[in-house]
Symmetry: none
Amino acid sequence: MKEPDFTTSLELLRWIGWAQRKAGEDWIRERDLSHEQSFVLGYLTQNPGAIQRDIAAMTRTSAASVSSLLQGLERRGLVERRADGESARIKRVYATRAGVELISGFDTAMAGTEEVILAPLSPEERATLHDLLTKITSVMPRPTR
Amino acid sequence: MKEPDFTTSLELLRWIGWAQRKAGEDWIRERDLSHEQSFVLGYLTQNPGAIQRDIAAMTRTSAASVSSLLQGLERRGLVERRADGESARIKRVYATRAGVELISGFDTAMAGTEEVILAPLSPEERATLHDLLTKITSVMPRPTR
DNA sequence: CATTGACAGTTAGATGTCTAACGATTAGAG
DNA sequence: CTCTAATCGTTAGACATCTAACTGTCAATG
C-alpha cells in the first residue's frame, strides 16, 4: 500500500506560494483591500507621481483596470490623482498619508508569517533551504516590489 | 551578529511564487480562467469526488465562494456536481473530461518551467530541496490521497 | 417521534476586475 | 495651420468574488 510520490518540487513551491498569498489575504482583507489594490498602493509609496500607464505595465494589466482600481482607492482617500503641469493627458498618482500608513504595515506583517511557515524545520534545515533558494533565485528576474 | 543577508527565506519563496504566478498567468488567461478556478480545477483532478466543504478548507475561502466558483466552472462544462448516495446534503464534485484536459495542459506547461527554475541545482540538491519542501507542506491543509 | 442544533450548500447584494469601445490630448508631417 | 496617428485615460457591460442571511438535511437527545 505504498503511495508513489507524484508531487514535484514545483508543485510544492506553488503550494507554498498559494499559502503565502492566503496569509497575506487575511492582512489585506482586514483593511478591505484586494491583492491588486495592495500591490499598487505599495508601488505608489515607492514611486510617487507614477502615471497610470506605468502602473499598468508594472502590474501586467490594462490601463482600464488601473483606472477602475484607482477609482476605488481614490474614493476611499488612499490615493490622489493630480494633473501634470506639462501634459494635460497624463495624471500623476500619489498615495495619500492615509494610504501610506495603511500599507506600511504589510511587509512587517508578512515577515511574521515566516516563523509559521518554517516551523517544521530545524535551524540547520532552514539554513540549507535558504542556501538552495538563494541559488535558484540568483538566476531569476527580480520582482518589481 | 547580524549577517549581511537582506533576503529571508520567506522573501525568496515569495519571489519564486511570484515568478511562477506570472508564468502561469498568461497560460490561464488564454483559457479564460482565474487563478482560483485553475487551482480548484487542478485540485479536483487529483481528488475526484471532493465535497465543497473540503475545497473551501483547501483554498482557505468560504463555502459560498466555492459555490459561486463551481457554478462558473459548471456553466462551462468543466466540472460536474452529483448527488451523493449516502447523504442528501453533500454533493460530490468531479472535473469533466474537458476540465481534466484543460488543466492537464497547464500541468505540462508548468512542468516545463520546473527545469528552468531548478536548473542551478544538482540532483542531490534537488532531492534535499524536495525533502525540505515536503516537510513544510506536511503541516499545511493538503489534498489527502 | 419531535425538537434542537450542527452541518452542507445556495442566494442576494455589493464590490472588484476585465475586455471592448470610446473620448481627449499630443506630436509630427505636409 | 490642419490632418493624422499614436498616446493616456475613461466608461459600459459582463463576470468573479466576498459577506451575510438563507434553505434543506442529518443526528443526537429526550
